[in-house]
């Protein structure tokens, strides 16, 4: 069950240009969070950034009772958030949303992430007990590559691409997935990132008849399923309906999502 929490920031670190890692003390989140879930943060008091901001849970440390979020500074909310300091508290609601299906029956999995979409995938890799775990991560450029060591440790193989070729494969991360897909024999692909990337991953998975779960983003109001603003189109029998990213998601099966 999600809770409203005021938790202490243990550490905040600027890990790449515009990207911050925040380590937060919260026994409750560490205990209860599942990969794919997010916390909804009041980034500052009062009227600046009125709404909470959804940020994925990136890592939990159950023994020390902390969890990590990693976020990119985009606008007002994240700008205020990144200026908080260790020792200060952060007002959050969580853990929210559903989670990735990491059933043991999937034994050879791939995660495909782009940009800020990679963070929930680290949590997933760390929690997933699979025989084989392959990670595909796409970044804009070398400078923006983050958590490389963590992904290396959490996976069996880490593939990296950059849009400008400054590191790893020069091009789209989905190219690498596509090349790999036939011989790799994945039984599940998990993906999160920009919509064009997600669509491509779904197509690739689909044409190889591999199961695929996607984590979606949408602008949110309440974050708990009450206001219905965070709509995304999903199949409903032969018809469609609007599901809601904050509650029915953020994780959906690629077979239920309708991309527009």
């Amino acid at each position: 069950m999600p809770k409203v929490l005021r938790e202490k920031i243990k550490r905040i670190e600027n890990i790449a240009p515009g990207i911050f890692l925040m380590n937060i003390e919260s026994g409750y989140i560490a205990e209860n969070a599942k990969p794919g879930q997010f916390v909804n943060i009041k980034c500052c008091e009062g009227l600046n950034a009125l709404l909470r901001r959804p940020i994925s849970i990136c890592r939990v440390d159950r023994s020390e009772g902390t969890f990590d979020i990693v976020f990119q500074v985009k606008g007002t909310g994240t700008e205020f958030l990144c200026r908080k300091q260790a020792g200060e508290t952060v007002d959050l609601i969580g853990p929210l949303g559903n989670s990735f299906d990491i059933d043991d029956k999937y034994e050879n999995i791939a995660v495909v992430g782009g940009g800020i979409g990679i963070f929930p995938l680290l949590f997933l890799l760390n929690e997933k007990k699979a025989t084989k775990k392959t990670a595909f991560l796409g970044f804009r450029n070398k400078e923006l590559i983050v958590l490389r060591k963590e992904f290396e440790q959490a996976s069996d193989k880490l593939n990296i691409s950059t849009d400008d070729g400054s590191e790893g494969y020069n091009g789209l991360i989905t190219d690498l997935l596509e090349k790999d897909i036939v011989q790799a024999g994945y039984d599940m692909i998990y993906t999160c990132g920009p919509t064009p990337m997600i669509k491509k991953v779904c197509n690739i998975a689909d044409s190889s008849s591999i199961k695929c779960q996607v984590s979606l983003e949408q602008r949110m109001g309440c974050g708990i399923g009450a206001c219905l603003v965070c709509a995304c189109k999903t199949k409903y029998g032969d018809d469609w309906e609007y599901s809601h990213v904050c509650k029915d998601g953020p994780v959906f099966s690629s077979s239920e999502v309708i991309f527009e």
Partner: protein
């Protein structure tokens, strides 16, 4: 602390306290029940219902603006029948008033819903004449006194529950609109619904909302809402339910001084899920601090400067 009575009676609708969750912000209460005790609410105005289920508008449906939000949900809801079947039994577990907020494209829609809901286990009906997020109907009825009077009058014939008419602020003269609702037979009016607005992404050069326009709510609208509630309350004898940007007990008290017999709280729930309980408690504390006997010592007690 002496026992503060904050009970109000709005045209036969008894509320244990004057704090009601505003339609569309609170779903059917299920989600928020994890964060608060719904028994502590004066009432719940449920997500706007239509005769048939509706999917609503395309996303994005929300944009944050300075001290406010624009929304363009477009009345996504399961329809009135599903509401009666699935939601009322849940809500009735709690000791709080259930207000069914309804919207339609035609007068007939409204009448039919009022008729159906009159036989359901709810406490009042709120006629939404003011949703700015649908192509037809709704707000069109709400922007002229004649429109408001005539639809109220029609619906009243089918309505066996207290009838609250919810007004749109997108008008030149809210006093005439409130009077029209009263003349049409409304038992109470509630206001304000959202103010039509827009937000643009200067990089894509497109409106942020897929629907292009949306309704503004939240603290930003408070001064406008307060003025309109005051104006309406000076003109009608029926009770007025005030809303628009209420986030604290102090805000709620401003509305009650201006003439509101109860208040509704929408946007504020998003940031602070238990805010309605805090507001209800804060009102009681204010009454006690000022040694008033009860809530009626606040309602409409504003004195104008001369």
């Amino acid at each position: 602390m002496k026992n503060i009575n904050t009970q109000v009676n709005i045209a036969g609708l008894k509320l244990k306290n004057p704090v009601i969750t505003a339609s569309g912000s609170f779903g059917f209460g299920r989600e928020y029940s994890e964060y608060m005790d719904l028994n502590k609410l004066g009432g719940i105005s449920v997500k706007g219902l239509t005769l048939k289920p509706r999917q609503g508008n395309r996303p994005p449906r929300i944009a944050e603006t300075p001290a406010g939000i624009l929304n363009s949900v477009g009345l996504q809801n399961p329809g009135v029948e599903a509401f009666i079947k699935n939601e009322i039994p849940f809500l009735r577990q709690f000791d709080t008033a259930i207000i069914a907020n309804i919207a339609g494209n035609t007068v007939e829609d409204y009448c039919q819903m009022a008729e159906i809901l009159s036989d359901a286990d709810i406490d009042a009906i709120e006629l939404n004449l003011s949703c700015p997020n649908t192509k037809e109907g709704c707000m069109i009825f709400g922007i002229s006194p004649n429109g408001v009077a005539s639809i109220t009058n029609q619906v009243k014939k089918y309505c066996k529950k207290p009838l609250i008419v919810k007004l749109t602020p997108n008008v030149t003269n809210i006093m005439a609109i409130a009077e029209a609702a009263e003349a049409g037979g409304a038992d109470a009016v509630s206001l304000i619904n959202t103010i039509l607005g827009m937000a643009i992404d200067i990089n894509t050069r497109r409106p942020i909302l897929a629907n292009n326009f949306g309704g503004l709510s939240g603290p930003a609208v408070k001064p406008v809402a307060l003025r309109m509630v005051y104006e309406a309350a000076t003109r009608v004898k029926i009770p007025v339910i005030g809303m628009g940007g209420i986030s604290t007990a102090d805000d709620a008290i401003e509305f009650m001084l201006a003439g509101a017999s109860a208040v509704m709280v929408g946007t504020a729930n998003f940031a602070y899920p238990a805010v309605c309980v805090e507001i209800a408690d804060g009102i009681a504390t204010y009454i006690q601090k000022h040694n008033y006997d009860n809530i009626y010592d606040i309602i409409g007690k504003l004195e104008l400067n001369t």
